[in-house]
């Protein structure tokens, strides 16, 4: 918003709980928190000038994504027809640093309060009354008070803004935690494929960081996750490799049924089956890089209220299996910025519900289907029951054969 021309004479305050993060060059080791950035998000980052900084720091484009089942041979491959990049794996710190640089560029309009914490909010009544300020008041831990026409809550899935605004949240904790780590591959390769395999305990994904390193995101039960963290490094590496390579969950029945379906498809649509590639094997894990965090799903019933808007995880929380969490957030930002910019150019009061509701409708339409689909996929792939495995096997194979559906995904 600070870079938007229509915000020329507006003032924006950013409350950040963490410290300022800016890097001139990245440390040798990779951070274990990475995100998969979609081309749409790249457009957003480019529009505020941050993408160039990301490119100058560190990122890894990937061209192909292979997703397959542990219980069958079914597989789906995503890749763009032109040899364009499908997406980029970027460390979260890199993005933060790039954004910090761009925030500095608009410091005249945007003031960032690092290490700040909001301890109280006073909400205005929707219609003008008496002498109380019609704006939102935020009280900071250090005693300062801020008044604003619009408060944007981007404070994550445990959003305090959301709770204090009394916006109901539909949420559900999965019985899963994600284990992340930075891995080193056995041999250098043209590491431009993202791999994900659905195990009955949860999906395991390998995201490329460089030709020799990849990032791990393994969603599994809480107990298993703790075990993985407690294991010695060799055991950890073995678990990963076997998760990707072993066929212990296959059953003959499913394999045959799957094979039949596959031949049927190759009759109908010769290009519909792809060759399965083998993921790289892992040799080593970065010592300090193992961590775990619990997973859940959430969706706020409202994204906006008078003078309040929620974006990103504060509005919706999704399972990492689709790699979409941060991209949904970026999508929210692009949409909200668009509506606020138009409102500013119309001279409107920025906190007015009229345009906030337009943002909410646009994003809810987009987000709800994706969040629901992700949740369904998570549940569908959490089982070894034969009928469901068959269903998803055939479903996956069919989807792989239908380019129109794949493009939509």
């Amino acid at each position: 918003l600070g870079h938007d021309i229509h915000f020329y004479d507006k003032k924006i305050a950013l409350l950040e709980a963490g410290p300022r993060k800016e890097y001139d060059h990245m440390p040798d080791s990779y951070s274990n928190r990475v995100s998969s950035i979609s081309p749409g998000s790249v457009t957003l980052l480019r529009s505020c000038g941050a993408w160039d900084h990301v490119c100058s720091l560190r990122l890894k484009p990937f061209r192909r994504m292979q997703v397959w089942d542990a219980c069958s041979e079914a597989m789906i491959v995503f890749e763009k027809d032109d040899l364009d990049d499908m997406g980029y794996i970027v460390e979260n710190d890199v993005i933060m640093s790039a954004l910090t640089k761009q925030l500095d560029a608009v410091a005249a309009r945007v003031e960032v309060f690092y290490k700040s914490k909001a301890v109280g909010y006073t909400w205005p009544l929707p219609s003008q009354s008496c002498d109380t300020s019609p704006w939102v008041q935020v009280e900071l831990a250090d005693g300062r008070r801020l008044h604003t026409k619009l408060l944007i809550g981007a404070d994550g899935h445990n959003s305090v803004v959301r709770k204090k605004a009394e916006i109901k949240n539909i949420e559900h904790q999965y019985d899963q935690s994600a284990v992340v780590a930075t891995l080193h591959l056995s041999e250098a390769t043209d590491n431009n494929v993202a791999w994900q395999r659905f195990l009955p305990t949860g999906p395991i994904a390998l995201l490329p960081l460089s030709d020799t390193a990849s990032s791990l995101v393994w969603s599994t039960s809480h107990d298993h996750a703790s075990e993985l963290l407690a294991m010695d490094e060799e055991g950890f590496v073995d678990s990963i490799n076997s998760a990707f390579w072993s066929n212990v969950n296959h059953s003959d029945f499913i394999d045959t049924a799957g094979a039949m379906f596959r031949s049927a498809i190759s009759l109908l649509k010769p290009s519909g089956t792809a060759v399965r590639q083998l993921p790289p094997s892992v040799a080593k894990v970065d010592p300090e890089s193992r961590a775990m965090f619990p997973l859940g799903m959430g969706h706020a019933t409202e994204y906006v209220q008078h003078r309040v808007a929620l974006i990103g995880d504060a509005a919706h929380r999704v399972h990492p299996l689709a790699g979409q969490g941060v991209n949904l957030g970026f999508g929210d930002i692009a949409c909200l910025a668009h509506h606020l910019s138009a409102a500013a150019f119309n001279g409107s009061d920025l906190g007015s519900l009229k345009h906030l509701l337009r943002f909410e409708t646009e994003r809810q339409r987009h987000n709800v289907s994706l969040i629901a689909a992700t949740d369904v996929l998570k549940r569908l792939y959490s089982t070894t029951l034969a009928p469901l495995v068959l269903l998803r096997t055939w479903g996956l194979q069919a989807t792989n054969a239908l380019p129109s559906v794949k493009v939509r995904i």
Partner: protein, 288 residues
Amino acid sequence: QLALFRFTVNRPFSTSHSSVDSKEMKKFQLLAHKWWDEEGEYAALHSMNDIRVPFIRDTLLSMSSNYHLGNPLSGIKILDVGCGGGLLSEPLGRLGASVTGIDPVEDNIRTADRHKSFDPVLAKRIQYKSSSLEEIVEESMETFDVIVASEVVEHVADLETFIKCCSQVLKPEGSLFITTINRTQLSYVLGIVIAEKIMGIVPEGTHEWEKFVPPEELEHLLESNGFSVKTVNGMLYNPLSGSWSWMESTSLNYAVHAVKCGARAQSHTTDSPPETDSQQRSATAGTA
């Protein structure tokens, strides 16, 4: 909003020749505190901003060659006649203009003043005054770059005098923006029967159909008083979505943009207000 005239000889006391319609004033007084409830009685006026502000902004931008998109109306002096609670003054102020808002109903001005007081930027850019248009003519000759009279002329007793006064306070080549309602059978059915009595989109009794102004009449009055009419656009309100849009036909609501001719000739204006026969003219204006 409202613009009423006091044909007074001695200010501040109004004489019996005043064409202030106390009925009209009372109507708006009762609702003075409702201006800023976006979902309340004035909801349709709030959403009208979505088309009238861009209309004003874009017209002015197209007439000027150097402007800054971040502050598009900076340096422009605007008079908002019949500003009511300031619904239109505020967005214009936010876009950078210096706005003077006048309205004869004091409660409206009070509401407007209070609402802008919370915003330090607006508080400086907008000035409100409880006054009629006539009363400021003497001190504001050729002061304003733009006059906005939105939803006002259908409440005015003497339209020609109103237009003359606009011309007096407007700089040469200045712009006059008017939005109002046409006097047609359709506007009676939709604008009064349905909007007021049935759906309650407009508070009942706000409008009198006889005072609605056909665009031909308005254009004629403007052209014969030193204005050149540049644009006439029909407007349509959709009660289901609560939003306004532009429309070809001017049979219901419409907007006009006129420019005051550059010549300084002010042939028959006098500084003193017109005589009583203007009262009779206003009576005849009421016939369909």
